[in-house]
Structures are given as structure tokens and as C-alpha cells.
Amino acid sequence: MLQATIQYIVFPLLCGAFTLGFIRLVIGPTLPDRIMAFELVSTSSAGIIVAYAVSSGVPVLLDVASVWAIISFLSVIAFAFYIERWRGEP
């Protein structure tokens, strides 16, 4: 039951979130839109890693997900500093 739930409900929903984030990443009119879309993409990929850890029974993948979250936070902060020092159309 758990395998079927993960394979037929959880993975499609997470991949849908990933795809919608990529749509906003492509069509986003300004740079902060793209950064928020990037944050959602990285969060949903961390969710995919967590769901795969439950599905395959490998708890080490949790470390991968936590490092992934840390790196996405640092990259968003770096992008914020980058916008602060940037000139041009938003």
C-alpha cells in the first residue's frame, strides 16, 4: 500500500510541482520571480529525495536532502546579494 501510494500519488504530485516551478522559471518576467521559482524547484526536489528514501528504504538519503536544503538556502541568499548590487531591468 505504501509503495503504491508513493508511486501513484506522491511522485506524480511532486513532479507536477517541479514542472510548475520550471514553468515559472522560464516565463518569470523578473529576476526575483525566477529566484522564487528556483527555491520551489529545489524544495520539491528535496521532497522527491525524501519520498525516494521512504520508497527504497535507504535512510542515508535523508543526509542528501538536508544538505540539498542547506545549499538551496545559501544560493538564494547569494542571489539576493547579487540583486542588491545589480543594475538593469528587473
Binding site: 525524501v50 538536508s66 539576493a80 542588491e84 543594475r87
Partner: protein
Amino acid sequence: MIEILICLLMVIGAFFMFVAGLGLVRMPDLFLRMSCSTKAGTIGIGALLLALAIYFADFGVAARAVATIGFIFLTAPVSSHRIGRIAYLVGVPLWKYTVADEFKDAYPPDACKTFGQECAIPDMNAPD
């Protein structure tokens, strides 16, 4: 019984993540998009990690999962506040039906000079 709880938590987490993506695409404004994606994405990843902590039922795994939940709950508001403030100061347009703009007179035109550095936020109306 515990399997049903795990299934429910994982479906709730994935559903909230999907709602975050939907709000990110459908909302009309950067700030509304940010509100949707940050809150729903945070609760989604929190529910998924809680399901993982219940599934493995191991102290090390549960401690790391709870630490990751705490880290995400602390850092998602920080990063979205950072992006939102900078986006407002840079001049990202608001939605045309926005009624409250309490940030309008809060900053002088040279707001970033208070940090003792050259003002780097561009003036969108100045001829370059």
C-alpha cells in the same frame, strides 16, 4: 495503522507542494506568488520529512529529520523576506488591484546608504 498514517502524511506533503507550484504559476504578482510558494512548500517538505521520521523509527534518522525540519522552518522565511525586500526596493511592479502599500514611504530614496556603502539599488527612472 502506522502505514496509513505514513501514507496520509506523504500525500498531504505532496499535495501541499503541488499547491505551491500551482500558486507560483497562477498568482498575478511576485509577492502573492512568494506567499503561496514559501508557506505551502515549507509545510509540504515538513510533512514529508515527518513521514520519513515515522517510517524508519530510528533515533538517528528521526533526529536528523527533525533537525532538517527545524532548519527549513527557520530559513524559508529568512530567504523569502530577503528576496521580497530587495524586489520591492528594486521596483518590481505590484498587482494592479493591490490596496495596501505600507512600505511606500518607509524608505528614503537613498535607503541603502545607511549601511555605509555605495547605494547599489538602481533607480529605475534615471537615464543610464
